[in-house]
Subunit: 302 residues, 2 copies
């Protein structure tokens, strides 16, 4: 079946572009679209299939939605030029944005009205893994949705967690992961700048802490950015007010008090207010540095 | 030299007992003392050397202080029955408690008056590693202090970070590590209970998150305790108001604002108020569970 598979990816940011490219690399006919027409053109020039989304929708086996949030996801699926009503029965939507579990359940129900499967499929791993077809996917949906998405999942992921037979469970796990990831980045920034205030150099920090009980995946991934003074955005500060905001919205709806998440959100919001939204999320360290009058490593560019 | 080495360990809690036992296992003549006389007797019955501290102090090559905080450390070294004034020139103190860098520098200077070396030697790794002689030590001190402590370090540690040639740097790194470790435990508890509120079971949590960007060393170590409902104290809740309090004291003295640390401290303080101080530190999850009306796994004992 994969020989004749037709897939479209909507959203060609760093994650979506990597996903679409992985599909091309797997020999799957892949259309790619972005609100930025230059990204769309770039993808077509690098192996993407040619054709307007509206004209190919009826022929798609899978539609992968890799946009920023639930509003954009809903717009792609059911907005003015929404795709689902034109998709063929038995085809599947893979929804990859971080959204509330309740939203995922609602989208699944609406897709069902058109006999279109819906896989709640938030992704983890970052842009490098996306480009390698090696994402981790926290998926839930009906067995039919998993089956319809199988070839796509094989092409884009290294690991698929099957978290349940209905939408929602995937998004719930993703929000748990984002809570941890966001708090760990802010905490890494707090610890590294606190260390600098006590004479612990960023170099010693990244040499010692990864060997100790204080380490985290995010610390090992992001702390070197600060030590190098390199804030090239692999994942930007702007992600976190959004994702931690989603976590807190979900928490609030369940009367769940999440003080660590709230404290981290505050730090990322301060970073955005300082104009750092487009920088790598490790730049949240600059909030601490400014508050404490600490100098961070400059990097080559300064 | 190790053949004739005489060492004493003061403080036979879970860490100190493991350290003293590792020294015995390495064939070093080791005295061990605790405020709880039963611990002292137990150690003597399990291979410890016999004799009162006051009577052997003048003969010691190394004194290892594994007590709770700086007050107790100062008392062991320079209190009413303080040991340093009776130690021989060229012997060494290894100070393992989590203390402020400034305190470590002060102790080093006071030991120098007696020609006793001082190794700022906070430890990391937990009671299991302590018992195996496999601790991580964040050490700083003069080359002479390192040399005098070498055989002891070999017997008790798997890894020694040499962080500088004066006391203070070791304690600074330890406080950075404790900041991270404490915040990560509270965050793990927040994420796991938040997940439960969204239908993510503790079992799924510990299956999925360690494979994702949201993981941390503490999460992988402590989350299983909650999933098993087992709060046997490997490291107790009571550690954290103390250690995060030390971090915040140091931070305050440097006008450093540490909101993640403050938020975590608040959660551990609430746990102590709930009467959980003696339980494993993963019991901070019970604060969240109570606030949100969530049931945690019971374990076998309930």
């Amino acid at each position: 079946m994969s020989d004749n598979l037709k897939v479209a990816t909507v959203g060609l940011g760093s994650m979506g572009y990597g996903i679409a490219s992985s599909l091309v690399a797997a020999g799957i006919e892949t259309f790619g679209y972005d609100v930025n027409p230059k990204q769309t053109e770039r993808f077509m020039s690098e192996g993407g299939a040619k054709g307007q989304l509206a004209k190919v929708t009826h022929d798609l086996d899978a539609l992968i939605v890799v946009v920023l949030n639930s509003d954009q996801t809903e717009d792609v699926l059911f907005g003015k030029n929404g795709s689902v009503e034109n998709m063929k029965p038995g085809s599947v939507v893979l929804a990859c944005a971080t959204v509330a579990p309740e939203f995922a359940r609602r989208m699944e129900a609406r897709c069902r009205e058109y006999n279109v499967h819906y896989l709640d499929a938030p992704i983890s791993g970052g842009s490098v893994k996306a480009a390698q077809g090696a994402l981790t996917i926290m998926a839930s949906g009906t067995p039919q949705a998993f089956k319809a998405a199988q070839d796509v999942l094989n092409a884009i992921s290294e690991k698929v967690f099957q978290l349940g037979d209905a939408a929602g469970a995937g998004s719930a796990m993703k929000s748990v992961n984002q809570l941890l990831a966001g708090v760990h980045i802010a905490t890494m920034a707090e610890a590294m700048t606190f260390g600098i205030s006590q004479g612990v150099s960023p170099e010693k920090f990244i040499e010692v802490i990864p060997e100790c009980a204080g380490t985290s995946w995010m610390l090992e991934n992001r702390a070197p950015h600060i030590a190098a003074g390199d804030y090239t955005p692999h994942s930007s500060v702007n992600i976190w007010p959004k994702d931690l905001g989603i976590v807190l919205d979900i928490a609030r709806a369940s009367d769940f008090d999440a003080p660590m998440t709230s404290a981290a959100l505050q730090q990322f919001s301060s970073a955005v207010e300082m104009g750092l939204g487009q920088e790598d999320d490790a730049a949240v360290a600059k909030v601490y540095a400014q508050n404490a009058g600490i100098a961070l490593p400059d990097g080559d560019k300064n």
